[in-house]
């Protein structure tokens, strides 16, 4: 046991017991971040802030929400939105943050892809990040069910039904997930449990691992330059702050993040108070009615691209049902991003996309294709729309099939051929 002396003050008292001084250095003042970064590197902190908003607003909502199909709709739309002081604010913040967090996740993800921050030692960062994306999706889906509006019910019906496509166990699996033959009270209550307990626990755990996985390979930078962090840190500590290529997390890196968070939250509160329909679909203000199918069933915007991959394959091919092809493609779309570090065969070389000509084209094609999928995922899948969706879904799959090929070619040409 360490020698405990009479403390000189509260910090010293804590330091003797918890080593807070070392801890502060490790986590804050001597946690080194490259200096050559742009505002896209602030998205991680923006995500943390949005997640905190979701947790805090969620706790307030939890005090009045009733996970019962007879009470849920009114507990949200009457009790919370009208009776409780500022209940509407917590609900609007919760709904808008849920949508906004996905926008920032996508920006964060595409930043990682563009600057090659998923490979050469950073694979675990990517994998835990994509796991977070997956669990956040489940969190968003389960949360959307809770107000028990029309789209809560019908989205639950359609999405849980997808599991029926899994060979052999599908039918039993759907019933097991729903806890009933139809989406019903048991379904609502168990998704409530997932939304407020199990999934948030998993998310918090994954965030911790995601942060930890940054420690060894360190944060990437705008030129994907490999830095010797020990050397650069030494320079900084010696006072050569301008010359050093790194800055400490606190206060230098965070001072920039606070500014970006400020801009993000200004926009956020505008959306919360004046422009929330994109995140709180009006159709979900209609109570769930299992006798009345809505004219258009679509998921929230952040699921549209993968939904369109599912819908895109709308005709049978060689005896295989369209539904099965779509499901297989949907499964592909949901795991393929996870495999990105292993599909990029230029493993030794990290560079931003603008220094990788073929990959640069691939990157923008992927982004544009996903936007096309997103937009067509919402449009009625009829006539020409169905064919655009099919083309975009096919393109998505082809892009991931050619990725290993173009990156392999790139690897062969490292430092040479054109």
């Amino acid at each position: 046991m360490a020698e405990i002396k009479k403390a000189e003050g509260i910090i010293d008292w804590l330091d003797q017991r918890l080593a807070v001084k070392v801890l502060t250095k490790v986590l804050m003042t001597e946690y080194w971040i490259p200096k050559n970064i742009n505002f896209l590197w602030a998205m991680g902190v923006v995500l943390v802030v949005l997640f905190k908003i979701l947790i805090i607003s969620g706790i307030f909502l939890l005090m009045y929400y009733k996970p019962d199909i007879k009470l849920a709709f009114d507990s949200v739309n009457y009790t919370i939105m009208q009776e409780v002081e500022y209940g509407w604010l917590w609900r609007h913040m919760h709904g808008v943050a849920a949508s906004a967090i996905f926008l920032v996740i996508y920006i964060h993800m595409f930043t990682g892809i563009y600057y090659g921050s998923y490979k050469k030692g950073r694979e675990m960062i990517w994998l835990t990040g994509m796991a977070l994306f997956g669990i956040f999706s489940a969190e968003a889906f389960s949360g959307y069910m809770l107000p028990w509006g029309q789209m809560s019910y019908w989205a639950a019906q359609v999405i849980t039904n997808l599991f029926g496509g899994i060979p052999f166990i599908g039918e039993a699996l759907v019933i097991w997930i729903r806890g009933d033959f139809l989406v019903a009270d048991a379904t609502l209550t168990r998704f409530f449990m997932l939304h407020v307990l199990l999934l948030p626990l998993v998310i918090i755990l994954l965030i911790a691992i995601h942060f930890y996985s940054l420690r060894i390979p360190h944060v990437n930078n705008q030129e994907s330059e490999e830095l010797d962090f020990d050397v650069e840190a030494k320079k900084y500590l010696e006072g050569k702050k301008v010359e050093s290529k790194v800055v400490p997390f606190w206060p230098v890196f965070l001072s920039k993040d606070f500014f970006v968070v400020g801009v993000a939250l200004t926009l956020f509160f505008y959306l919360v108070c004046f422009h929330f329909d994109f995140a709180m679909d009006p159709i979900n203000f209609e109570p769930a009615n299992n006798m009345k199918t809505p004219a258009h069933i679509y998921p929230e915007w952040y699921f549209l691209w993968s939904y369109e991959v599912l819908r895109g394959f709308f005709f049978d091919v060689g005896g295989i049902a369209a539904m099965d092809i779509g499901l297989a493609a949907f499964g592909f779309a949901n795991v393929i991003f996870m495999l990105l570090p292993f599909l990029d065969r230029n493993t030794e070389h990290t560079a931003p996309a603008h220094k990788r000509p073929a990959f640069f084209v691939w990157f923008w094609l992927l982004l544009i294709d996903m936007i096309v999928l997103t937009v067509y995922g919402k449009l009625p899948p009829t006539g020409a729309n169905a064919w655009v969706g099919f083309g975009a879904a096919l393109t998505f799959i082809v892009l991931f099939i050619v990725l290993p090929i173009i990156t392999k070619m790139e690897a062969k040409c490292n430092g040479g051929c054109k």
């Binding site: 742009n38 505002f39 926008l103 920006i107 801009v263 509160f269 108070c273 203000f285 209609e286 937009v375």
Partner: protein
């Protein structure tokens, strides 16, 4: 400079996605319909000038009070709500405020040809007659008689402006609930179900689920937005319809004013925060650049 370029790229793609999934997708899913027509052009306009005093007599001789009450004139409804529900499927409206909230031409057309004015010809015909019997005239010029009745209804209508809730109650409450304002339909639910084919929806949150724009064309002519619906065209004047929508907003979006007021404060606070954060950032980064 580079940061601004990157920001422009991020904003551009975000804006494209937003445009695609919101305004564009909604324009594809909900085709635009013509704006509300408060002149009810399809029903034509009568050139006759009504005489309220004659109208009062015609009103009584025509048998309107067989079904309708006019409480403001001391004429009670002939049946209570339960028996009216059972006899007609829906409680007949009290006509005290009809002259104030419904359009004049519409009322005239309704008296002569109820199913046409109500736009429910797809539901009611000779084998299934509409509970409101068309007025066939008392032997004179039917258009003059109708104009007189309308003039009478207008003459007894309240002169003082009606409050939004009262307009809603007179125009909508026979069929619809407004649960969040504890206003329930006057018609018995089971009767309503068999009369309409479905229980008309509770309107508490309709302002949030449909929005003002949709409601203004829908209430004016339900068939335009929802072909085949059993909701009749009720013939509200523009002013009365706006009052109904205002009442729906008061009930379904009660915190709107608070939300907008707080919105400016929250944004103002964040702008201040952002400026301070920027100043601090500049100060901190001066040392390392």
């Amino acid at each position: 400079m580079r940061e601004l370029k990157i920001l422009a790229v991020v904003i551009f793609f975000t804006a494209v996605v937003y445009w695609g999934v919101e305004p564009f997708a909604h324009s594809q899913m909900h085709p635009h319909v013509a704006p509300a027509d408060f002149t009810f052009k399809d029903l034509g306009a009568s050139a006759k000038k009504g005489d309220a005093a004659k109208g009062a007599e015609t009103f009584l001789s025509a048998g309107c009070t067989g079904c309708h009450g006019v409480s403001s004139q001391g004429m009670a409804a002939p049946m209570d709500n339960a028996s009216a529900s059972a006899s007609f499927g829906v409680t007949p409206p009290d006509l005290s405020s009809a002259g104030a909230i419904y359009d004049k031409n519409y009322l005239a057309a309704l008296i002569k040809e109820p199913t046409k004015a109500l736009k429910v010809e797809h539901k009611f015909n000779e084998s299934r007659p509409h509970p409101m019997i068309a007025f066939f005239g008392l032997g004179g010029d039917i258009d003059q008689e109708v104009a007189d009745i309308v003039a009478y209804l207008q003459s007894i209508a309240p002169v003082a402006p009606m409050d939004d809730k009262q307009v809603y109650a007179d125009a909508c409450q026979r069929c619809h609930d407004m649960k969040y304002d504890k206003l329930m339909s006057t018609t018995d639910k089971a009767a309503l179900m068999s009369y309409m084919g479905t229980v008309p929806p509770d309107l508490s949150m309709m302002i949030r689920s449909k929005g003002k724009e949709y409601l203004s064309t829908f209430i004016n002519n339900p068939q335009k937005q929802l072909p085949g619906t059993s909701m009749p065209r009720v013939g509200l004047s523009e002013k009365a319809q706006n009052q109904v929508v205002a009442y729906m907003e008061k009930v379904g979006d009660r915190k709107k004013a608070e939300r907008e007021d707080l919105g400016y404060k929250l944004i103002g606070y964040m702008v201040l925060f952002t400026l301070l954060a920027y100043a601090w950032k500049v100060k901190i980064w001066k040392e390392v650049h």
